[in-house]
């Protein structure tokens, strides 16, 4: 069931928010020992919020499509009175006295928070193999990782525990678990959704966005989240739109760029075919597919990594005395950041501007780009390398090749399930657009979703 379907059922009195919330909590109780998607479950508070939601609906006070819907947020968003660990032992006892902006907005929209999802420690990694709160398992195959860093959010949505879970994305952390768990993940434009109360990993690369079971649901959530927030210096005053796409939208007049270079090299069997099939479907729906050449995205990824290394080290430097409590993989990244110089950082930021100038030229040719989200389906836990005919790559930089660079430019992107690989694992197609083109991205995604075979939920 999607948010839209549940919202209709609530208004038709076929179901109550309390029933939906109990079902969510039951499913979490039944499967979370296995999946470890949650760090904290807020059962009592959730049921109280669900009762209030039902009461309000009964009184005719309707807060909109998220009213009474059970949701979760990654444990990187501050929640008043509920511990917010950031997936780290260092923050194990941190109980904020305020809600993050996205939590405020979701509560105001009537959503029912059932818990905080597990994640890669400090949101700094892609496996969500958390050394303190358990390794999150992929609902499609528990031996595989769900992706990260918003792995618990991806797993929770894919496993039907919640209708939506919030994630954060610094170098792909919403889109990666979305692709590997077979759900929709939306990273909005930088500044579109407030970062207030999002525990930072990187001040200039972090984005907040939803993981959902459908494109329509992602749009509903963005409608609730988008807007200026004076508490976030990078928040935008750009006008907010209605992001919900029409039913079965036409793509007439939309020019979709299909990269000829970079995005289709070194990909696992089935990946290129699935995305090319999606491009064909877009064309059948009225879009024009334009082959495009993209600039040196590999170099952009490296520069993005340098910025992340330095900014994340700066974020965590005040806690340096406790770095031995951080998992090895994350601690090594923080240490790397300390060794880069101020000059290196400024040069990286200068290159960031030049690279944006280079890449943005693509928007003169096309409205959006269609690429694979990930070069591989979800890897087995413990895998450290990608192996190709012509060599190997470390998992983290290798797997994030297609998602990382655009965070430097703040561009919006969405990962849409686009089929299964030969092993039956979900694959994602990524739609990238220029700033504030979320409505168009969602329209393209909705058109493709309507034509692609819907993935059956994973057998748990």
């Amino acid at each position: 069931m999607t948010i839209r379907e549940a919202a209709a059922a609530l208004r038709a009195r076929r179901i109550s928010s309390v029933e939906l919330t109990k079902a969510a909590l039951d499913r979490i109780a039944r499967y979370d020992d296995r999946l470890r998607a949650f760090i904290t479950v807020t059962g009592d508070e959730a049921l109280a919020a669900a009762r209030r939601a039902d009461q309000e609906l009964a009184e005719g006070r309707d807060r909109g499509p998220l009213h009474g819907i059970p949701i979760a947020v990654k444990d990187v968003f501050a929640t008043r009175g509920i511990r917010t660990t950031c997936g780290s032992k260092i923050f194990a006892d941190y109980v904020p006295d305020f809600d993050a902006a996205v939590v405020e907005r979701l509560r105001a929209a009537g959503a029912v928070l059932v818990g905080k999802t597990n994640m890669h420690e400090l949101a700094y990694g892609i496996t969500s193999a958390n050394p303190h709160y358990g390794a999150v398992c992929n609902p499609w195959d528990p031996e595989r990782v769900p992706g990260g860093s918003s792995g618990g959010s991806g797993a929770a949505v894919a496993a039907g525990m919640v209708f939506m879970a919030m994630g954060s994305d610094t170098g792909g952390s919403i889109r990666i678990p979305a692709a590997w768990c077979g759900v929709v993940g939306l990273k909005p434009t930088f500044g579109r959704v407030s970062r207030y109360g999002l525990l930072p990993l990187d001040f200039t690369l972090d984005h907040a966005g939803p993981l959902t079971r459908s494109v329509h649901d992602a749009a509903l959530v963005l409608n609730a989240l988008a807007g200026f927030d004076p508490r976030d210096d990078t928040s935008s005053r750009h006008p907010v739109e209605d992001y919900v796409p029409p039913e079965d939208p036409s793509l007439q007049g939309i020019r979709i760029g299909l990269p000829e270079n970079f995005y289709f090299t070194r990909v696992a069997p089935g990946v290129a075919e699935a995305v090319q099939k999606a491009a064909q479907l877009a064309e059948q729906t009225g879009a024009t597919i334009i082959p495009v050449r993209v600039p040196d995205v590999a170099a952009m990824n490296q520069i993005s990594r340098i910025i992340l290394l330095v900014e994340a080290a700066a974020v965590m430097q005040p806690y340096m005395e406790r770095w031995r409590e951080i998992g090895d993989d994350v601690r090594l990244l923080l240490e790397q950041g300390l060794l880069l110089s101020a000059t290196d950082y400024v040069q990286a930021q200068r290159l960031r501007r030049l690279m944006r100038e280079e890449y943005r030229k693509v928007w003169r040719q096309v409205h959006c780009l269609l690429t694979p989200t990930m070069p591989i389906p979800a890897p087995r836990r413990g895998e450290t390398h990608l192996r190709w005919e012509d060599g190997t790559e470390d998992l983290r930089p290798g797997a994030t090749r297609f998602v990382r660079a655009i965070n430097m430019f703040g561009w919006p992107a969405l990962s849409l399930p686009c089929g299964l690989d030969p092993q039956g694992l979900p694959l994602g197609a990524q739609i990238i657009g220029p700033p504030f083109s979320e409505a168009r991205i969602l329209r393209v995604a909705a058109a493709l979703e309507a034509r692609l075979p819907r993935l059956a939920p994973p057998a748990l």
Binding site: S236, E335, L339, A348
Partner: protein
């Protein structure tokens, strides 16, 4: 290429030997890309530190 061990020592970071061993090749790889590109940055190119997205005026 910078001597990362020397840098760590100079900054008094006291990083474990095992960590330094794993860090060095990663930083070497990143630094190679950075230094190559940085050598060609035009004099007037400014950093993108105060980052805020704006509408693409030239977008179709």
């Amino acid at each position: 290429m910078p001597d990362w061990r020397l840098l760590a020592a100079a900054r008094g970071l006291n990083l474990p030997e095992e960590d330094l061993h794993r860090i060095e090749p990663v930083l070497d790889e990143l630094y190679a890309v950075l230094s190559d590109r940085a050598a060609r940055i035009p004099l007037t190119a400014e950093p993108l530190i105060n980052f805020r997205c704006e509408v693409e005026e030239e977008a179709i």
